[in-house]
């Protein structure tokens, strides 16, 4: 079975001389939920825009489910749904018409298009807004409208470029569930996001891009296993007078009711709690200081830049 996405030696140099992509290779398997991460300006959006034929590549090849963009462009396009980073629908068009028109561009007859538009508007909680002009929607609704529009032709590969930017946590989580559901139904998903918790929760495989190069391409589990130390924030039940000196633990004073502890992967948390208990320190609650993926991501980007 062909790869959902196969990129070879993809390069892009803009007219102003900016070398946005410096020969990237990337494979995404069918059915995957794949994260493409990178700092701002790393080349994520350029890569996505080339896949979606919105930007002309300078070199290399891209194929979607075996359809090469140079040789079999229209077949490749039929396989792809795109949710771009910025709103790009006609704000003066009614919501349902936006979906019906999009379906029409893919050759779906108008009667069938109305049905599909209804299906996706219902699923994404926009049915009540179907007759409203798109400009009347809230930010979260506009994001969901773009997802519905990208799905109306039922693509095999869905690319979402920061789909939950500016969306409140409740809607974000409902969108996560929706994306998980369509992924389970067989749709391959590529996600870029700045919410690394989102990538960690949803994605099975990951690539990190920086300065136009792929600097990491592995499984999410494999990547997270590279994390040697985690930092925990400990909320205490009683105020501390001074920082306890616990041999074998790296503790930092944040304030009289809060400590930070760096815990190595091979050290049991039980040992930390036993030692704290011995000093009479009771922990009310504990949380990761940063998302694990975020910690790794920063480390890799810094390492890449140091090179």
């Amino acid at each position: 079975m062909p790869k959902a996405l196969c990129i070879r030696q993809l390069t892009k140099t803009y007219k102003n001389g900016l070398e946005a992509l410096k020969g990237i290779d990337l494979d995404v398997e069918p059915g995957d939920f794949f994260a493409l991460l990178g700092p701002n300006g790393a080349g994520k959006s350029t890569t996505i825009s080339i896949i979606a034929s919105l930007v002309n590549k300078s070199g290399g090849s891209v194929s979607i489910f075996g359809h090469d963009l140079d040789r079999d462009l229209y077949a490749a396009k039929r396989c792809l749904g795109l949710v771009p980073q910025e709103f790009n629908f006609n704000t003066f068009e009614p919501v349902q018409e936006i979906l019906v028109n999009q379906a029409g561009y893919y050759g779906i007859p108008r009667k069938e298009a109305w049905k599909r538009a209804e299906k996706y508007l219902v699923e994404l909680g926009l049915w009540e807004k179907r007759k409203d002009m798109a400009r009347m929607l809230s930010g979260g609704m506009k994001r969901r409208l773009m997802i519905a529009r990208a799905l109306v032709h039922e693509p095999r590969l869905l690319i979402l470029d920061e789909p939950t930017a500016g969306v409140d946590i409740e809607i974000r989580r409902s969108m996560w569930q929706f994306l998980k559901d369509i992924n389970q139904q067989g749709c391959t998903i590529i996600l870029t996001t700045h919410y690394l918790e989102e990538a960690e929760t949803l994605c099975r495989n990951i690539a990190i891009i920086d300065h136009g190069r792929i600097i990491e391409n592995t499984t999410m589990k494999g990547l997270l296993s590279q994390l040697n130390t985690e930092t925990f924030v400990l909320d205490l039940t009683r105020p501390l007078v001074h920082l306890p000196d616990l041999t074998g633990h790296r503790l930092r004073w944040v304030d009289e009711l809060t400590l930070e502890a760096d815990v190595d992967r091979d050290v049991s948390l039980n040992r930390l709690f036993v030692d704290l208990n011995r000093e009479g320190i009771q922990v009310r609650s504990m949380r990761n200081k940063t998302n694990r993926l975020e910690q790794l991501f920063m480390h890799m980007v810094d390492r890449g830049r140091a090179k």
């Binding site: 979606a52 396009k77 792809l80 771009p84 790009n88 028109n101 561009y105």
Partner: protein, 258 residues
């Protein structure tokens, strides 16, 4: 589903989208040219025309009606496509088409179809207003209809090319204001070129709108300053040239892809 069937649906979709767009804002798109042309009928045809008498042996009001209809068709076909295409670039919803499997030639034909529909809608509305001033008589309906459709197609394509190059809303008004309007006014809408001195008659021959207005007037009144075939040849020649340019621009991604 065959590609041809799929493309046909995509083509219809663009046309429907365009027609709904200008219909939704009919107060901005259909009504103003009807009022403007109504005023031309009253002032030039009724008040001044009564003193002018005849032009080429035809009552002045009857002489200007085809020209004014054509003027409305030209400006509205052009305006529809240039504003729609540029807005879709500006708001980035042109990307809806660019990511989809709609071939570039269909995008061009779809926008052109939208421009023709708006041109014809305005043309019919202006014709209905003209009935208050003169009874409708069409000498050759096939010529009148074919010329008006082809002319609308030509200016729709010109509008699209303007939309491709436009980088601001100012850019979409420069050509209509400084090129299209003067060419239309000097295109024999209000006078027969036989009234002009020989030199200016020669200069007028380079104005393509002159041939369109004359051919359309032939369809209405059966009189023209030029051979009908010359007019058709010029209109179709321009259409093919503009279509070729538009297709080249879209294929190259000029103005729409980086």
């Amino acid at each position: 589903m065959t590609n041809a069937h799929s493309n046909w649906i995509a083509f219809k979709t663009i046309i429907i989208k365009e027609v709904l767009r200008f219909s939704r804002i009919w107060i901005q798109t259909i009504l103003p040219p009807v009022i403007t042309m109504g005023l031309y009928f009253v002032i030039f045809g009724g008040l001044i025309g009564a003193r002018i008498g005849e032009m080429d042996g035809i009552r002045y009001m009857d002489f200007i009606i085809p020209g004014l209809i054509m003027m409305a068709v030209i400006t509205n076909a052009y305006a529809n496509v240039v504003s729609s295409f540029y807005s879709s670039k500006f708001q980035r919803h042109l990307e809806e088409m660019l990511v989809s499997p709609v071939p570039n030639y269909l995008i061009i034909l779809g926008f052109m179809g939208g421009g023709i529909c708006r041109g014809l809608a305005v043309g019919v509305a202006v014709t209905l207003v003209s009935l208050f001033f003169s009874p409708l008589s069409i000498h050759n309906p096939a010529v009148a209809l074919s010329v008006v459709v082809l002319t609308a197609a030509l200016f729709s394509l010109a509008g699209l090319i303007n939309g491709v190059f436009a980088r601001s809303f100012d850019d979409i008004s420069i050509i209509p204001t400084f090129i299209l309007t003067p060419l239309t006014y000097l295109g024999g809408v209000f006078y027969s070129i036989s009234l002009l001195p020989e030199f200016w008659q020669g200069v007028s021959m380079f104005n393509p709108i002159l041939y369109m207005v004359n051919a359309f007037r032939y369809g209405f009144l059966g009189v023209t300053d030029f051979s009908l075939w010359l007019s058709y040849g010029i209109i179709i020649g321009f259409i093919l040239a503009l279509y070729g340019i538009a297709l080249y621009l879209l294929n190259k991604g000029i103005g729409i892809r980086q």
